[in-house]
Amino acid sequence: MDFNDTPTEAEYRAKVRAWLADAAAKYKDMPDAEGRNAEFVRRSKDWQKTKHDAGYTGITWPKAMGGQGLTPMHSIIFSQEESKTAAPTGLYAIGLGMCIPTVFTHGNPEVIQRFVPKALEGGEIWCQLFSEPAAGSDLAGIRTRAVRDGDDWVINGQKVWTTNAHLCDYGIIVTRTDPSKPKHKGLTMFIVDMHAPGVEARPLKQMSGGADFNEVFFTDVRVPDAWRLGEVGDGWKVALTTLMHERLAVGGKPRHSPDYNTLIDVARQIETEMGPAIEATHVRQKIADVYLADEGIKLTQMRALSALSKGQIPGAEQSISKVVVAKNMQDMAAFALDLSEAAGFMTDGGGSDLERLRASYMWSAGLRIAGGTDEILRNIIAERVLGLPGDLRPDKDTPFNEAKPL
């Protein structure tokens, strides 16, 4: 048992590190660019091109698709090292991580030729258009319609929770093409031009204040049949490929989130009637609980990485991670804010730890929902890992347009 790279991994890491030391150096002295502004996009495009030219994009992709044909561990090693630099990351995560693999798995040769290389070198940015107001946990409840019209399809409907939609050039979209079929059977997936007439992306403001996502409205948007991904009616199967790629990401706590050390620091600074808060046993018990969650998830991810390193597919670690991380963030933040009394409630002071804790309290409420609610993830763990039977699904075999919810 060890935490070391294998010799092959170590060699790759050394190579990556050496390259990054030089290639990413220039970002160190640049001022921070906000995650969603033009400067950030410019820098991201530039950096993606640089990586592409050096052979560090599409690390796990087949060579035929312009990738490097390496293992997930290589990709993770690159990300780990990249994240230690100041280079801009994130803009291409969904496009290259989920959209383009779907495109090259299900698209026709022309489509692949047209979109994949351009995406890989960063020339075009992609988004994923799945969720809808009435299709969240139950993704197959999608209502956005696509109707055949000559060589085109005409799309009408609304998508939601689309990351970066306003910055994107293309997206992959799941639509309902046959409402007379049962819900999973009448779906079809397409590539859609985000600059096409009738596409409108609006920022979607969150409870926490920011607007990290979009709503996207489609009004008579035309898509050529050639941009279809998979067969007509196979949209659900195609969407599952996309979602499978999500599983390979080894998630965890959002970067820069407060953790048990934050709670230790906050507790050390608070003087109560009975002495420093850090000496109160209920505070200490809570620190222990937070450590168990924080470090337990990190260690669980190391187990997943070890499996990856051996060429195995990780299991339910992602689901475990999110169930634990999000609720733990909410509980820890509430506890620390309570401990900080008035200072935890005011939003204009109290130092950076309290700022992060307040943000964490707001954000965690969304994290418990995004990418699978706590409840859906528990279902997944129970059904896929423990083999328990699924909830009854009375609408499974009913034509979508005849289903009457019970």
Partner: protein, 367 residues
């Protein structure tokens, strides 16, 4: 046995509920959030006209002289409604005057409170982490106060602030006329975007002591009962919102309310709120009858109500899924107000400890 509110209190509750259902609620709170006013002046006029500020003021001082039961039902209804007026602050200040005010102090302030011309508030917090019992930043010297209280709810627009200041036996309360010299009032942004808070800087401001340290603690108990009722009101509406959504939202062919993952969560909200209600009724009884159980009942009411509100506010967002996390959803009002009420009189842990201290003193007396 009649462990229930009086018919009079219930009638007042029903009247308040009708008024607030019509005039307040999340949409009005959203308007207040988007505006600049410290409170909704038009609604405040209506609240005064309904006699709520006069409710607890004795008839001799121009009020109606109702009991603590009526104060509790009003606190609950106001908690339900999110109404953006400084009622809870004024009510808590009224309780302090009733409890510890001299005849002169009562005569000076209560009539204005009753007729709505005086908005009052209470400030104990001092920005840095501190419980109600560890006031350090404000000191009284020769009838003058210096230091800063922040955040003080409903400060902007208030005429009277009752603030705690360090004394020999711990903090005690002081009356500060906010129109006097040596006073600076600024906005203090907080997690609650509807109920506004301020920063009160006192620079040798004239102040009158309002009772001693014991009175401060006796007031805390009464305020805790009122805040428990407010929390129960707010938490109950969060639960009702979650339940309504669970009856309507469909996933996988069923109303999500059919899933035990959802319905058990709703049941837990109800259980927590009912436990809190039982303790808060005990508090209302003890407050109305000046019973020796007040300390224990008040602490229990506050802790149970905070737990119930927190759970209902958090899980209401959760049950709504993505839509509940949007700015446009009303879920945020309960989520944020949950932090405001949690802060308002000192934290859950502080009150839980206070509860156990009260039980220990009781057991020691009984032994």
């Amino acid at each position: 046995m009649n462990f229930d509110f009086s018919d009079d209190a219930k009638a007042l509750r029903d009247q308040a509920r009708r008024f607030l259902d019509e005039r307040a609620g999340a949409a009005v709170a959203r308007k207040a959030m988007d505006g600049d006013a410290p409170y909704d002046a038009e609604l405040w006029t209506s609240v005064v006209e309904l006699g709520w500020t006069a409710a607890r003021v004795p008839e001799a001082h121009g009020g109606i002289g109702l009991s603590a039961e009526e104060a509790c039902v009003l606190a609950e209804e106001v908690g339900r409604s999110l109404i953006p007026v400084p009622f809870v602050s004024t009510l808590m200040a009224t309780e302090a005057l009733l409890l510890a005010g001299s005849e002169a102090q009562q005569a000076r302030w209560l009539p204005g409170i009753a007729d709505g011309s005086v908005i009052a508030t209470i400030g104990w917090a001092e920005g840095d982490a501190a419980s109600p019992a560890t006031t350090r930043g404000v000191r009284a010297e020769g009838g003058r106060l210096s230091g800063t209280k922040v955040p003080v709810p409903d400060l902007q627009g208030a005429r009277l602030a009752i603030v705690s200041a360090a004394g020999r036996d711990g903090p005690s309360l002081h009356l500060v006329d906010l129109e006097g010299p040596g006073i600076t009032i600024e906005a203090a942004p907080t997690l609650d975007l509807v109920r506004r808070h301020g920063r009160l800087t006192l620079d040798g401001a004239a102040a009158e002591p309002l009772g001693d340290a014991a009175a401060f603690h006796a007031w805390l108990d009464r305020a805790a009962v009122l805040s428990a009722w407010e929390a129960i009101g707010t938490g109950t509406v969060a639960m009702e919102m979650a339940v309504a959504y669970a009856k309507e939202r469909v996933a996988f062919g069923q109303k999500i309310g059919r899933y035990q993952g959802v319905k058990h969560k709703c049941a837990d909200m109800y259980v927590k709120l009912e436990l809190a209600r039982a303790h808060a009724m005990h508090g209302a009884w003890a407050m109305a009858t000046d019973a020796p159980e007040l300390g224990q009942a008040a602490a229990a009411a506050r802790v149970a109500a905070l737990d119930a509100l927190k759970f209902a506010a958090e899980e209401n967002v959760q049950l709504h899924g993505g839509i509940g996390f949007t700015w446009e959803s009303d879920c945020q009002f309960y989520y944020r107000r949950n932090r405001q009420i949690a802060f308002a009189l000192g934290s859950r842990a502080w009150w839980a400890d206070r509860l156990v201290r009260t039980l220990e003193r009781r057991n020691a007396r009984a032994a």
